[in-house]
């Protein structure tokens, strides 16, 4: 264990911006992808029964 305290952990030895910037953006993007997956499925289920994708309109 490299950390004496929580503030020590959050400081990341002076590299907080780089380390937490990496982890926060990764977590945020994965959260966005999961939300987009759920929205896409909800819309797909709502549109069932209509003409298939690519059918002539």
């Amino acid at each position: 264990m490299s950390w004496a305290s929580w503030s020590d952990f959050l400081a990341m030895g002076g590299y907080a911006l780089y380390v937490w910037g990496s982890y926060a953006v990764t977590a945020g993007l994965i959260a966005v992808e999961i939300i987009m997956l759920l929205i896409r499925r909800r819309n797909a289920l709502r549109n069932l029964g209509g003409p298939a994708a690519g059918a002539r309109r």
């Binding site: 990341m12 030895g13 780089y18 993007l29 992808e33 069932l48 298939a52 994708a53």
Partner: protein
């Protein structure tokens, strides 16, 4: 034309090449891969932050490695899988193959962006620059554009089977970029380091760092499989929305 068959252990595996058979199978697999991803990620973060020691050269900045390497590996591997399914769809004209390729692209693009982003945030404190036109960085950026190009091309074509074929050609041509990314650190020895597992000096340090890295890489694998299966199910729902077998799922939440 008769249906192709591949019978192993009394199961005709080509049965699952049909969207109708694959849809419930994929749905049953998603929770397993999603839970595996969550548990492996928790274990990887624990090892990465609380077991792996401080690097004697880079200090704590090196802890970016636990996402950077996992994301970079996934970005390349997903592209190969995407090109494989695109190629299978092109040769055998199977609908599900094209859907798999389409479903893989956004997750591949996501991991490519994460690899570039974390690389920039790692490069600044260790190299003193966010970005440099080094062979590894440039070829990884080209990978991101290949994913975007694949998605944009498919989105621009209304008819799904034509979109599959056009995307497949682009995906297969782009495969040449993968060995370029992989060998770039050998071919152009500019800034990006070579083998990442030799980072630490003492072998005991390498062991816990490597463990954290591999756990995160496995988590990224499981997540990618879960996300792709989830997306391919939505694509099946979209493309086959008029099919009788899907009628029972209409307006349901969890088919």
């Amino acid at each position: 034309m008769s249906q192709p068959t591949l019978v192993i252990g009394n199961i005709n595996w080509f049965r699952y090449a049909s969207p109708q058979a694959f849809f419930p199978l994929a749905g049953a697999m998603i929770p397993w891969f999603a839970w595996a991803a969550a548990l492996l990620c928790a274990a990887g973060l624990y090892v990465g932050f609380f077991v792996a020691p401080t690097d004697h050269q880079q200090g704590e900045a090196y802890r970016i490695i636990f996402i950077h390497v996992a994301a970079a590996w996934m970005s390349m591997f997903i592209y190969l899988v995407m090109a494989f399914w695109a190629g299978v769809g092109l040769v055998f004209n199977t609908r599900l193959s094209g859907m798999m390729a389409t479903a893989l692209a956004p997750t591949g693009a996501l991991f490519t962006f994460i690899a570039l982003w974390t690389g920039a945030l790692w490069g600044k404190p260790t190299w003193g620059t966010w970005w440099v036109w080094d062979g590894r960085l440039t070829s990884e950026l080209i990978l991101l554009f290949l994913y975007f190009g694949f998605m944009a091309l498919q989105a621009a074509i209304d008819e799904p089977r034509r979109a599959d074929r056009a995307g497949a050609v682009l995906a297969l041509v782009g495969v040449v970029n993968i060995p370029i990314i992989y060998f770039s650190v050998k071919w152009w020895n500019t800034l990006h380091q070579g083998a990442s597992v030799s980072l630490a000096s003492a072998p005991t340090m390498a062991a816990t760092m490597l463990a954290g890295m591999l756990l995160m890489a496995l988590a990224a694998w499981m997540y990618s499989i879960a996300a792709t299966l989830h997306r391919v199910r939505s694509i099946i729902l979209e493309r086959e929305r008029g099919a009788d077998w899907l009628a029972k799922y209409r307006n349901t939440v969890e088919p």
